[in-house]
């Protein structure tokens, strides 16, 4: 027993973007799930960097970072990661345009960038550890200096490693024709996020 006014309101609601039966954001759920994951991961990294930032403010004699870290090495690592993000963007676009082989080649370049980054980070860590840095102690007097370094860069490095594995799986599945371009795009979102986080780690952890 609905009046015509009620029916009209109902029709109006159902006809809206959120009325059901269509996707309000204009894309499918896997991409939305990746975005939700990235949002929560952003807040995780934000918590880590905020914790580090607070430590820096509250510590009187923070070690001279510019003398301890090789800024040129880290700048080169940043360069490598930015390049891999660009090749990933091209791979996603190529996949969307149906150029699967071109997409595959650029995905391999992206993997190369990721592996290079990990290698350089392993070198940096080895160097740092050889100088006496440990998770809980280091020769520069502030224990949290090395702790924050290992936790933040380690957490990011783990993301890069996971990304490399994710990309290798994507390459294999795309070559076999088992995934749609949308899946490559979702892998791309993850990879760009890893680059995005590094922008802030590079700025807050190394440059400031």
């Amino acid at each position: 027993m609905t009046t015509s006014a009620e029916t009209m309101t109902q029709d109006h609601a159902l006809a809206s973007e959120w009325g059901g039966g269509r996707s309000p954001f204009g894309f499918n759920w896997p991409k939305l799930m990746m975005w939700l994951f990235l949002l929560q991961d952003t807040l995780t990294f934000a918590a880590l960097l905020t914790g580090y930032w607070m430590l820096r403010i509250a510590t009187v004699d923070w070690p001279p970072q510019y003398e301890i870290f090789d800024l040129y090495l880290v700048a080169f690592m940043t360069f490598v990661l930015i390049c891999s993000s660009a090749t990933m963007a091209v791979a996603v676009a190529a996949s969307a345009r149906g150029h699967r082989r071109l997409s595959g080649r650029f995905l391999w370049l992206t993997v190369l960038g990721g592996v290079t980054f990990l290698g350089l980070q392993a070198y940096e860590w080895t160097h740092f550890i050889a100088e006496g840095a440990r998770l809980a102690t280091n020769p520069w007097g502030v224990p949290l200096f090395s702790a924050s370094f290992f936790v933040i860069t380690g957490f990011h490095g783990a993301h890069v490693l996971a990304g490399v594995i994710y990309l290798l799986i994507t390459i294999a599945r795309q070559a076999a024709g088992r995934i749609k371009p949308e899946s490559v795009e979702i892998a791309g979102l993850y990879w760009h996020f890893v680059d995005l986080v590094w922008v802030f780690i590079f700025t807050i952890k190394y440059l400031l």
């Binding site: 930032w53 607070m54 149906g98």
Partner: protein
Amino acid sequence: MGSGEGHHTQTTDVAGHQASAPEHAGTAHGGYRVYWVTWGWLLLITLLEVGVVFVPMPRWMLTLLLVILAGMKAGLIIAFFMHVRMERISFIYTVLVPMVLGVILFFALIPDGLHTLQMR
């Protein structure tokens, strides 16, 4: 393979909304130009970031400059590499509004840090 088709559907989905024209402009220039231009800007800003560290200036000014430069890089990556520029406005808000939490978190702990510093 419905690969090309999938992309097409998405473009028409967004077509009614803002900012789908620049992508077509990019396509006209060989297809991938927009990504290489973004890449160039990201490298340029990174060079600036490293360079700015060696310029003598007050600490607060360096911090401010670096935060602005990092924000510019983040914007470029999110808008062009992650294609957020191409998404619907409702989605853009869905992504950006939670980021306010991150910014609040970042500044909320500064007084506490300063207090700890004074206690030492």
